[in-house]
Subunit: 391 residues, 2 copies
């Protein structure tokens, strides 16, 4: 399959502030974005792609900026397929000519979300009111705030209507929120490895990762920018927790087993990695802290634990989903224990009860939550067929 | 059921050093221990009880020392049944007159294991060579080292033979190691919620917990004693990770769901707990760091990840278990995903293949690994019947 080629991240400054759920207004918002494929004259072929916790606007193609500035992000995938550092977009297998999100036909838009650290305004951005980075004075965000900001951005581009909003994990939450907040602007949503509300164990893992960051003295209450120190230790630990929750137990068995770093025997060390899986985790932690901002991690992690369609819209999932006009495609993966199939099935059931058009596909695959970035070949025909029916 | 009453922890100094797997000798070892029930004149009614990662010698009865000095330990149980601070032993439901380990009949001995921080020599003990605490100069331990030390201790007591060695989790590893290292000294073992080798995901969780401690600057390379600082932040994070792995997802659903701290709505805060499960985790972390030494956590966590009977004894589980002469009772819990039933079943299969006497019981229960401390009522008849047959 073909690639969208060399791409460049662009930036747009929103002319008006966005009103947030926390009741604060945030002005001077800059959005980092990329587009792939041609916008139809009728402006009716737009796909908005929403990224997950550690993603960015660079979803497809090869980045024009040097590789160290733009890495294929998204969980363990970078390690698995070896594309890290080559500047490939995080969903390149899904976006391009003839791919699931076909750029011969659609105009795909990808933004770095509000609160991010890859070009869109977030905690590491300068607060115009003080001339210093926001740090932990940045307003606490919700998924709905991210969606409102995306809408304000699309308004600037003159795009009123989205043929598709698509994303996995936190990206899938954004797709759901789009269809509920702006039912008259979304034709269909593709919600992959996501949920209407993270389960308590997922809430706990996220709390642990955030606590790991905040308990690092280098976090300094969130105002570490310009101090020469940042909470790399804590964020590394948080990332390790994330990594293990993104993978399944059997995937770890297959990939590492109990293999030792030095095959002959153990070396009797507390401080050094002994098992391959220990070494892998440290490597992942160390590379992540080089390219990601700890405060962004905190804010996005908090937003995805807050996300709870039932609570947000009148107390039940059905009440929330009753607002949806879009056709819904749900994809879940059998081994995903962080965003388990049961959550997608609850959404499916509620939409069916409401008489809304919905399709649900459970893909049997062993890699856990990471499947949404890895199982591109099996998602592609499902998505293509769904979009065919929508068109 | 009756209690063993008020008990006191005693101490014994080993007169000779113990040779460790790492090839170092450790001298001046002090053992903290408790005993319950009466030693038979023939000294043939001894049960050795082995504790898990965060346990101590105080396994049964009410401690004679003030409650804040001796808490019922062992994972989430303290929170669940509210016995913390009342000085009840960590396995009080299992040890006593008429209980699973019946003190009317048996003489039960419980020691704090080597490397511990509850009276037995460990990293926080004074190194006689320097006059300062060992810290990270303490030798790296294995489960076999713990067992060799227990044997040296029992030699001092004049006890040559054990009717039973029993334990859950890391305690079960010690029971298995006893039966393999000293087959002629053990009549039977009771191995609960344990394994012959932790699976890679379990290795990973332990590595993350240790890294959380070691990345805390207050750890100071392991030499934090007497500095006025200790790695509470990191150990708190490690403990939170442990907590979630000791509980099942459904148990968290039942116990906390997505209930908010303040039921009316979210408060838009990154730093404060919003969900009940977040608050619970912080509370558990804060109370744990007050009563447990971070270096002991590191050493015991390392020992339990090293434990691998196949690797230790000639390459296969069968080769290892071929040495066992004791009758084996295995108990596992359906919802335990840290020490899953599959591991116990592998031990059962290998013992059966070898023609060794083994009994395996799978208990259907929802609380995850914590079941071994919570499901006392359902374990009791299984253990009683097994011991009846042994006697």
């Amino acid at each position: 399959m073909d690639s969208v080629g060399t791409v460049e991240t662009r930036y747009l400054d929103l002319p008006v502030p966005v009103r947030l759920d926390c009741n604060r207004e945030l002005g001077h918002i800059r959005i980092a974005y990329e587009t792939y494929g041609t916008l139809a004259p009728a402006r009716d072929n737009v796909i908005l792609v929403c990224h997950a916790l550690s993603g960015d606007a660079h979803a497809a193609g090869v980045s024009a900026v040097p590789p160290e500035e733009s890495t294929r992000d998204g969980f363990a995938a970078e390690d698995r397929d070896g594309t890290a550092g080559r500047g490939l977009g995080w969903w390149d297998g899904m976006i391009g000519p003839g791919k699931a999100f076909d750029t011969d036909r659609y105009h795909v838009i990808s933004t770095n979300l509000l609160g991010g650290c890859k070009g869109t305004t977030g905690p590491s951005s300068i607060d115009p009111a003080t001339g210093k980075p926001y740090g932990s004075d940045f307003p606490v965000l919700t998924v709905a705030d991210m969606v409102r900001t995306q809408r304000a951005f699309l308004d600037e581009l003159g795009i009123d209507r989205l043929a598709v909003v698509a994303g996995g994990s936190l990206g899938g939450m954004q797709a759901l929120e789009w269809a509920i907040l702006y039912p008259d602007r979304v034709d269909s949503i593709v919600v992959i490895a996501s949920t209407h509300a993270l389960h308590p164990q997922g809430v706990a893992w996220n709390a642990i990762a955030r606590d790991a960051i905040m308990r690092d003295p280098a976090w300094q209450g969130g105002h570490y920018y310009g101090t020469g120190r940042k909470p790399d230790g804590g964020m590394g630990v948080g990332r390790m927790v994330g990594h293990i929750t993104y993978l399944s137990g059997p995937a770890l068995d297959d990939k590492f087993g109990r293999r030792l770093q030095f095959a002959d025997d153990i070396r009797y060390t507390i401080t050094e990695p002994e098992f391959e899986v220990e070494n892998y985790l440290r490597h992942q932690a160390d590379s992540f802290v080089k390219r990601f901002d700890a405060n962004t991690y905190l804010y996005l992690s908090r937003a995805l634990t807050y996300f709870d369609l039932g609570r947000q819209y009148g107390g039940s999932l059905e009440t929330a989903l009753a607002r949806i006009e879009a056709r819904t495609l749900l994809i879940a993966f059998s081994s995903d224990w962080l965003y388990p199939p049961a959550a997608s099935e609850e959404i499916e059931d509620a939409l069916r009860t409401l008489g809304k058009p919905v399709e649900y596909h459970l893909i049997e695959a062993p890699y856990g939550h990471d499947c949404f970035l890895l199982e591109e070949a099996r998602q592609t025909p499902i998505i293509q067929e769904f979009l065919e029916k929508t068109a």
